[in-house]
Amino acid sequence: MAFGAAARGAKSAKTTYEVVALDDLTLEVRAGEIFGLLGPNGAGKSTTVGILTTRVKPTHGHAWVGDFNVWERRVDVKRLIGVVPQRPNLDFALTAREVLTFHGAYFGLPSAERQRRADALLDRFKLRDRANQLLHGFSGGMMQRLSIARAMMHDPAVLFLDEPSAGLDPQTRLLLAEIVREYNEAGKTILLTTHNMEEADALCHRVAIVDHGKLIAVGTPLELKRSIPGGFLVRLHFSAAPASLVESLGALPGVTEARTSSDGQVDLYADRGGALIPAIVSAATAAGVTIHDVHISEPSLENLFLRHTGRSLRE
């Protein structure tokens, strides 16, 4: 097999203290794609990254990076991957430039090459003017940029970015997106985790939605959004939601599905949004209930997540 499956977490389940972080999660990332793992906090995204990057030992299952079984061929795997952790773990005893040059040295790069690459990355990540300073005075955004630069220092074939844009200002977020695309265009595979669906939507070729360690859906952002019945989600909150009301709402033109999610709450999946309101008001009046709240959202990965789990990604 050439670089067919870049990162393949096959049935990797991790059990710690009886908490199953990943439960029969199987996914395949193709070489040369930007793959997003989307899910709320605690969904098992970081555990997946940990297993694929040799840092977490799975209790069952297998993980592959390229041709290598991750747990059995850790050193070979480590040569192929670059990792940007969720929390910056930069070497505080070193200056920004030294963080890069020593990292290069760990990967056996010759001295001149280390300097050349460090200069290029410091420029690219706009860190040149702070290159020779220790990291103590660095802002969160600067540390995140340096973390990503460090992960790219040895030019890995697969780049793992765990929540790369958390806590970044919009400008740095744009710079990051640009750099990720550029790196991908150079033929590299990128796996990023996020709980931000806009980011996944904008950046990723394919997205896997995970929750409670289980794979909920996988596909291109477009495919995933198309798979939501109707596309639009109208969330309604009534004083009460009798079955007759839910039934009549489900029968409205354009509505593909009506579901009661909690007390008085009804979710409508429909091919239209605002146009449904008059009909909804009539149905509510006929049922003798009052409407407390109406929320219309356009087709999005957020809606897909909500449909599969009954919860919002942000919850």
Partner: protein, 256 residues
Amino acid sequence: MNFKTFFAMLSRDAHVARRNFGPLLAQTLLQPMMFVFIFGRVMVTSGYMPPQYKSLLLPGIIAISMVISGAWAVAMPLISEFQFTKEIEDRLLAPMEMDWLAVEKVVAGMIQALVAGLVVIPIAWLVMGSGVVLSSDHIVLFIVLALLVSLLASVIGLTLGCSVGPQHIGLMFSLALAPMIFFGCTYYPWQALQKFPVLKRMVLINPLVYASEGFRSALVPEFPHLPLNWLLVGLGLFNVVFFSLGIRQFRKKALT
């Protein structure tokens, strides 16, 4: 085994140690030096201690300085890097088997312990003034012992650094290192415990005893000291025990 990675990490540690050389020395050597001044200079000059005490004290001071600075140099960065800043992750992701990173830390600690030993001899000599008489007849034995003691310091550091949480650093000093120093036959020879038979046996579980008695046997053989085979067996055994313990704890910390 990837030598390039190993030496790159060693040069990283050397680079950082060079940058922090002054504070590091002050942290580990100031206390023994004050002890040398008070007991080796003030007490002897004022007549409360016999002049020979200077020569008896120096090997113990070398042992303390080496063990404390080596253990400190390995333990402190490990405590913060594993549990606080997680900055060791970058080196765990370098293309080298994980255990070699622990070995690298041990080698770096050995070098620092040896440097501390080399620095402390002339300083203590100067602080105590005239009257220190050291033998140079057993120089090979001294070198062998210095290597074993520096390894001991390092593996103790590895064990502590991978077992103690950042909130317990103070406790580590008062519960582990301070008793080790005071019951380590550093300021007195083991023979001096003659009238405390229980204590005399108990201190033998203290690895520092073998370090200070060892240096005594090499530098001031005219004073009583443990026999050579006890010394070598003791140092060897503690090195093996602490290395195995340390590497086990290291693996536990390194993987989640």
